[in-house]
């Protein structure tokens, strides 16, 4: 949602995995179920395209 609200469309998480397991030092990451991810998006080409993406989120812009 934050990505779309910043002006992007076509947001997609493409990969996720545990990237902290086995690290030399213990981390707080495991306690929160932390995973590495890859994500992508595209800057909207027009105001109309962005508004359509926001509408699909069914959210309101902050005032």
């Amino acid at each position: 949602m934050a990505v779309v609200m910043a002006g992007f469309v076509d947001f997609e998480i493409t990969w996720r995995a545990d990237v902290f397991g086995g690290a030399p030092q213990e981390s707080s990451a495991a306690s929160f179920g932390t995973m590495g991810i890859n994500f992508r998006a595209r800057k909207a080409t027009s105001e109309e395209e962005w508004q359509a993406a926001l509408a699909r989120l069914n959210c309101e812009l902050p005032s």
Partner: protein
């Protein structure tokens, strides 16, 4: 300085000492730059590149020093590679490995700008660029929430393991949008948490860095 950082997607983090947070992050990543074999709560270097699916061919010719201090959480290039001639911004470039990979991919007609707030990392990145012999990459000091890049300059913004360290993610994402051309691509590696982080924990700077 303390500030309330607010994202429209979540509650604010009241009384988060931004200066202390940034100093703690800079201290941590100065060690990553200067002593990459120290042993951290995250993986680093070539073993990490293999874990994250970096093609060995991408790293050919790149300074071993830059690779040693690589501390990403994913692989921005796995989604789509930059094209020859592309302009790329690497947000939170660290010791510059991803910037150098991008610089190889965009070729002499392309340009890469790496941005980082940690002076030790920037020094290492600039030396790595000289050692690698790539002339289409430059590194600039700055924050993700205020990128030193012109509006609409970039075809592609990448970042690797950095967005989670920025207290105002909405501002950082807004900056990424600002520097991109309309239709420009965002390819980010970062982290997600599967369990909610309590508000009090968000004020614990140690949890941001460890």
């Amino acid at each position: 300085m303390t500030m309330e950082t607010h994202s429209p997607t979540g509650p604010p983090v009241p009384n988060l000492d931004l200066d202390s947070l940034r100093q703690a992050i800079q201290t941590e990543y100065q060690v990553v730059a200067e002593n990459p074999d120290h042993g951290f709560h995250f993986h680093t270097g070539r073993p990490l590149t293999r874990m994250l699916g970096y093609d060995d061919a991408w790293l050919e010719g790149i300074s071993e020093a830059a690779i040693a201090s690589f501390a990403g959480t994913g692989n921005p290039f796995s989604m789509e590679q930059p094209e020859p001639g592309d302009r790329v911004v690497d947000v939170g470039c660290g010791a510059g490995m991803d910037s150098l990979v991008a610089a190889k991919m965009v070729g002499p007609e392309g340009r890469v700008v790496g941005v980082d707030m940690t002076p030790a990392m920037l020094a290492k990145a600039r030396k790595a660029a000289r050692d690698t012999g790539l002339r289409n990459v430059e590194y600039r000091e700055g924050f993700g929430e205020a990128l030193p890049v012109f509006d609409g300059w970039a075809d592609l913004v990448i970042s690797n393991g950095v967005l989670n360290l920025m207290p105002d993610k909405h501002a950082a994402l807004g900056e990424m949008a600002r520097v991109l051309k309309p239709g420009g691509r965002l390819q980010i590696a970062d982290i997600l948490v599967e369990k909610p982080v309590p508000a009090g924990a968000k004020r614990n700077i140690d949890l941001w860095t460890g």
